[in-house]
């Protein structure tokens, strides 16, 4: 890893999200909830989601602890996902997975917006799980619905 790649991984936007996570906290019941963790490194995310009657994510919050990547990624996800339908969220998730794993081009690159800043994770395969942790918890919360 070069210092540039490391700086890419930890861009100021990402560090900003990790220091000041957006949508931090819990939602009152009734809502969807899931807990995700990476046993291998101890990162944890709890996610709370409210769906409206059109399957639109009307509200989302999270708490957690772990590395800058896992926490920033979850924070950025909540910002991006609020107001989207669950189908749109699933499409975003797949595109996001592609850019962090370097596994093919995203289908709708433009939609990703700020999330593309996490592309640097590609160079750090062992951090993919960190970047995906929030998204895994989101999927679990929605599928548990």
């Amino acid at each position: 890893m070069s210092p540039e790649e490391l700086r890419d991984l930890y861009q100021s936007v990402i560090l900003d999200h990790s220091h000041k996570p957006r949508n931090h906290g819990e939602l009152p019941a009734p809502c969807l909830h899931a807990h995700g963790d990476n046993p291998s490194c101890g990162d944890e995310i709890d996610i709370w989601v409210k769906l409206d009657d059109q399957n639109r994510i009307s509200d989302i919050k999270f708490t957690g602890q772990g590395c800058a990547i896992s926490q920033a990624s979850a924070s950025m996800m909540t910002v991006k996902i609020k107001g989207k339908t669950t189908a749109e969220a699933a499409a975003l998730r797949e595109d996001f997975r592609r850019i962090v794993m370097g596994d093919g081009k995203p289908l709708n690159e433009d939609d990703l917006g700020e999330l593309t800043l996490l592309e640097g994770v590609q160079k750090f395969p062992q951090r993919v799980k960190c970047a995906m942790l929030g998204w895994r918890a989101l999927e679990q919360a929605i599928e548990g619905a």
């Binding site: 070069s2 210092p3 944890e44 590395c67 990547i69 951090r127």
Partner: protein, 405 residues
Amino acid sequence: MDWHRLREDFPILHQEVNGHPLIYLDSAASSQKPRCVIDAITRYYERDNANVHRALHALSMRATDAFEAARRTVARFISAVTENEIIFTRGTTESVNLVAYAWCGAHLKPGDVILTTGMEHHSDLVPWQFAARSTGATLKHIPVLDDGSLDQEAFERLLTPQVKLLALVHISNSLGTINPVREMCAKARAVGAISFVDAAQSTGHIPVNVQEIGCDFLAFSGHKICAPTGIGVLYGRMAVLEKMPPWHGGGEMILNVTLDSCTYKAPPARFEAGTPDIAGAIGLASAIDYLEAIGVSHIEQHGLELTSHALEKLGCIEGLRILGPATGPRGSLVSFHCDFAHPHDIVEWANTHGIALRGGHHCTQPLMKRFKVPGSTRASFYLYNTPQEIDQLAEVLDSARKFFS
């Protein structure tokens, strides 16, 4: 001792990682291997390899002789009374499991207590949980004080006649605490309990003498003391081993077998079913010879110097809090928490600068909870490390602080 020249013995150290010379500070997880150990393995496979025991042809006699000589080397290294007290295992974890299954299974009953501590590695905790569950015994824990030492008053309180086994770590892999194993084993013996010492972090770092410690069992891993992966040791006092039933069944541990039953050999064979890691044992003996040629007390001194240097240097970094004992002797490792970044971010940052650290719970989740940290970052040292490397570490940690803050 010329510690810089000794680095020449370790081929792996002379490489660059991410454009920087490698600084390996993860020896508490696994140590590097000197050329002589690598050569001992090669030589074995190139000249003497064969299965051991029942040896009547030349190669198998040579392999058997080398394997049993390795057992004598280990016995001498930790001052066992006889080499028959040395059982070869895969490592500390298997050694603990052997005792947890074979000894506990034969000797514990409901009401009995296994006493352990709040700073055990999962490998010296989970097997006792299993043993407690299957025998009906109760597992109790000596609490850890804020300074990283064991609560000795609580120990005295907990040490009732119901305690049948005391299991404790010699040097904590997360805190660096050196426990007073000698005194604690003596107290355990006084109430009739046997003692098990997890010496994974002490063996090869400080002199370890089972007579002096006065324990009944002691375990360590080869891979942490310059030896190959796959080999470890369980020492057991003969009087205790003799009364312990076997655990793994199979070839070489039996005397006579019929289709429905069998009789067992005496220790250590009773506990070594199947083909052992012959090359591993030979590599372990070579590693011990290497460490002894340098002198374990010299290595201890070197470790103390590195550690106090690290405590001083890292102690100056703002927002970095050191876990474990602040003063007094300490294992050769420093575990710390940084308020500016998560351990994994620190480890990642260090790796980009060629430094190998470990971050996480270090297989001591209960201890991390005790200190209310999700995990820690750990720099651990061995004979091939230098103060200059620690200076580098301090610089890189300070740059991390600036970057992540």
